[in-house]
């Protein structure tokens, strides 16, 4: 039984390491510098915990096999080993705290740096079960909204018709287009319950919270079409609350915007 269990543990260890290692090749593409930084921190972390994992499971299996009962060998009568215990705590503590500190870099860039004044501001408002995407139009100012003006068919956000700033606002449902290479500041909100704006290709997500307006910044470096699943349980249609991010060349983006305006 001892050898069998040791072999099972080692087999599980090897299989887990190989399987998780292969997962890296099947992740969505990383389309921003921040996303690539998340990936490298992720792979560094997986490497560190991989070493700890193999070490611990390997020793566990080895001890089970090596020290299984049999013969007349007497168990060692020891109560501990202070410097070994202390040493393990210090080494592990140093490794994990280092990871914790390194793990803040993308976070700090994302949330705690001065916003880019040239950023294109896009407003995204979640509702059961769709994303309302709004652009401010040529004036760069979002028109005021009021829940009394909401019309689910024509005016889902309730933009006031008496506010001139709102006249050129552009609203798109479920599709957000952005120009490549430019900083985008998404201002996230919600009409009803919690949702979460998740862009796997950018390695970011942010809950949308009714009553709060939460900024989320990114700069995509690669054009293409990417999926935006909702990542916070929001009701029975949660699984089909799917948005699309289109990263376009600047000229294409302008013509997309014009098309939306015409509709």
């Amino acid at each position: 039984m001892g050898l069998l269990l040791a072999l099972i543990l080692w087999a599980i260890t090897v299989a887990s390491v190989l399987w998780l290692h292969s997962a890296g090749g099947h992740m969505p593409p990383s389309i921003s510098d921040a996303a690539r930084a998340v990936d490298s921190q992720l792979f560094l972390t997986l490497a560190v915990i991989g070493v700890a994992f193999v070490l611990a499971q390997g020793l566990l299996g080895w001890f089970i096999w090596r020290y299984r009962a049999g013969g007349i060998r007497q168990a060692r009568y020891v109560h501990g080993h202070d410097s070994l215990e202390l040493g393990a705590a210090v080494v592990v503590g140093a490794a994990f705290i280092t990871l914790a500190v390194l793990g803040q870099r993308v976070w700090v860039q994302l949330h705690l740096t001065v916003p880019d004044p040239q950023a294109l501001v896009v407003e995204v408002t979640g509702e059961q079960f769709a994303w309302n995407v709004r652009y401010a139009g040529p004036d760069g100012v979002f028109g005021r909204t009021d829940i009394d003006h909401i019309d689910p068919g024509t005016n889902p956000l309730g933009i006031r018709d008496d506010d001139p700033a709102g006249r050129d606002d552009i609203v798109s449902i479920n599709t957000m287009a952005v120009p490549v290479g430019r900083t985008i500041e998404v201002q996230l909100g919600s009409k009803d319950v919690l949702h979460s704006f998740f862009i796997p290709a950018l390695r970011i997500k942010q809950d949308t919270v009714p009553g709060l307006r939460i900024p989320l910044r990114f700069r995509a470096t690669q054009t293409g079409t990417f999926e935006v699943p909702c990542a916070e349980l929001c009701g029975l249609g949660h699984y089909r609350m799917k948005g699309t991010l289109r990263v376009l060349e600047p000229a294409e983006f302008e013509s997309w915007l014009a098309e939306q305006k015409a509709e």
């Binding site: 099947h26 915990i49 009962a69 059961q128």
Partner: protein, 584 residues
């Protein structure tokens, strides 16, 4: 205190089995409640896995059992989410909190302390029955208009606060859910008080703190956590009920529009609930797993025939994990909209929990090192606990980092992580404890051969379910998804669902061996005698099962808890109540 609850010789069935104040009966009641709940919980998880593994298949037979949820043999999305919600609630509260603390804690703690009963036997009976009532209330939610709630076990508002307008099950089903949880909190609070008072006040002569078994330290710390955490959830639940029915707005801000209708609430904060919930919710993880750590330390030492390696460090680590657990709840909220500054503090504190956790792992390995391992089923499950604790703990190092949580939060990576550590590791602790203490509880030994097969299949099954789920998580698969087949970026992740489902079916099937073993063992298992494992702690000094008053004469302790392989002693172990001169 002890004089007030002497046990009369003969009592009727009602007083003896149903409304008993005997801690041993109450312990078995909790354990049976957890067994019933785990059957529900596992069946629900199989339905969940069925949908995820085979989303296009129709199941005509199930349409007969669930005419509403599986109309036409196809699972409704709201039914799927109800299963997710109820599976989580059932497992976290009525299995992982109930069995380790209420079950084994109640039965074993007073015995290990050399006490005749808990400090407050009537309170003990009350806490069980309040918990049982909470269980019935929860199950009722399936049978009311709209069915069980669909908002997940975390019940985030506004989804949980606005009633049936935001989804089926959010009406009466949600009210029953909140009521159930509030009752559970009340029951657990009473239980926690009792554990603390018993440990501090009922230890027999000679049982100083330094001689306590690590199980006692684990239950004591767990009770302390429960005492501090459950009141916060209770308060949150009451506020949520007020928001739903009394027109308050603790959790609901103004300006909401649901299905084209304006909602009449003003000035609340959805984040407030998350803070209250996770202030309870993170320590809850440790409520579920600390007793398993205690049992594992105990069982490794007994069957390695060696003293626990680094006893003092182990006690310190239990306390450190328990107390640090109160300062890390924010790691569940990195992407919630909470201040990004506090996220950094929560992240660093979270990773420091790795230090006492690593210390425990080193000392478990140290306990095995140079031992003579007797691989009983209890020992196998304790070894499995160590393996799963390491695996599940290490993925926490990934999720505890703010930057990585940006990507992995609310993906199935999280589901895989917490199932490994608080689901599987904690369950392995419960299994280990069951195989170890069953002879003491029921006076019969379980079948070892059946137990070994049960162990091997469950260990392989646990990894076969949750390793591929980590892989899906790395690919960005969101959790709580009824059907992800329309997402093209998940093309490589989706085929893994079938593997996981088959692994889950096999793992659940293997549990029939456990049930068979309980039935066989309970009726035909060999009689064990007082101390079948040649263990040292006080529960093994009395008959199996113990008499109503626990001990024929009051034990007196002369030795530490884990004196195995003592050189020069007449046996290879020195029991805690052996005379002092046994040790040379």
């Amino acid at each position: 205190m002890t004089a007030s609850h002497a046990h009369p010789g003969r009592q009727g069935f009602v007083r003896r089995v149903l409304f008993s104040t005997d801690h041993k009966v109450i312990g078995i009641q909790y354990w049976v409640l957890a067994l019933v709940a785990v059957v529900f919980g596992v069946l629900m998880s199989l339905l969940i896995r069925m949908q995820l593994g085979f989303p296009t298949h129709t199941w005509p037979l199930l349409a007969k059992i669930f005419p509403r949820g599986m109309n036409g043999g196809v699972m409704a999305p709201e039914f799927y989410l109800s299963l997710v919600t109820m599976h989580g609630t059932m497992m976290v509260f009525f299995v992982l909190t109930t069995a380790p603390l209420g079950g084994f804690g109640n039965f074993i703690l007073p015995l290990q302390l050399g006490a005749r009963d808990m400090a407050f036997p009537r309170l003990n009976m009350l806490s069980f029955w309040v918990t049982a009532l909470a269980f019935v209330t929860l199950v009722l939610a399936f049978f009311v208009e709209g069915g069980a709630p669909l908002g997940g076990w975390t019940a985030y508002p506004p989804l949980s606060a606005l009633g049936a307008i935001v989804g089926p099950g959010q009406g009466l089903g949600m009210d029953l859910w909140i009521t159930s949880i509030a009752l559970f909190c009340a029951g657990s609070l009473l239980g926690a008080l009792n554990f603390l008072a018993t440990t501090l006040g009922m230890r027999c002569t000679g049982l100083s703190l330094g001689r306590l078994p690590l199980t006692v330290w684990a239950w004591f710390t767990t009770a302390l956590i429960a005492l501090l955490a459950f009141p916060v959830l209770l308060a949150g639940g009451i506020l949520l009920l007020l928001d739903r029915h009394a027109g308050t707005s603790f959790f609901v801000p103004g300006g909401l529009v649901v299905a084209g209708r304006a909602i009449d609430h003003h000035g609340g904060s959805p984040l407030l609930w998350q803070h209250l919930f996770w202030y309870f919710g993170h320590p809850e993880v440790y409520i579920a797993i600390l007793p398993g750590m205690g049992a594992t330390s105990q069982i490794l030492s007994v069957f390695a025939r060696k003293p626990v390696f680094g006893y003092r460090a182990m006690v310190g680590a239990i306390f450190a994990i328990g107390m640090l657990g109160f300062f890390v709840w924010g790691h569940h909220m990195f992407v919630s909209g909470m201040s990004p500054y506090s996220a950094i503090a929560f992240s660093v504190l979270t990773l420091t929990i790795g230090v006492p956790s690593a210390l425990k792992t080193v000392n478990w390995l140290g306990t095995l090192w140079g031992g003579t391992l007797r691989l009983t089923t209890a020992m196998l499950f304790a070894l499995g606990f160590v393996s799963l604790f390491v695996s599940g703990g290490l993925t926490g190092i990934v999720l505890g980092q703010t930057s990585l949580d940006l990507y992995l939060h609310d993906t199935v990576f999280v589901v895989a992580h917490f199932h490994l550590i608080m689901g599987m590791a904690a369950l392995f602790g419960i299994f280990a404890a069951t195989y170890y203490w069953f002879p003491k509880m029921f006076g019969r030994l379980l079948n070892e051969r059946l137990g070994r097969v049960h162990f091997v299949l469950t260990l392989i099954g646990a990894y076969a379910i949750f390793v591929p789920m980590h892989v899906q998580g790395l690919m960005g698969h969101p959790r709580r998804y009824y059907d992800a087949s329309s997402y093209t970026y998940l093309a490589d992740a989706l085929p893994l669902h079938q593997i996981i489902t088959w692994a889950a079916v096999l793992t659940a099937g293997a549990q029939l061996l456990f049930v068979a073993n309980l039935i066989w063992g309970g009726r035909r298992g060999p009689r064990p005698g007082a101390n079948p494992w040649q263990a040292t702690t006080l529960e093994w000094t009395t008959a199996s099962p113990p008499p109503p008053e626990n001990f024929d004469s009051q034990p007196v302790v002369h030795h530490p808890a884990y004196e195995y392989g003592v050189p020069g002693a007449p046996r290879d172990y020195v029991m805690q109540n052996d005379p002092p001169e046994v040790r040379p």
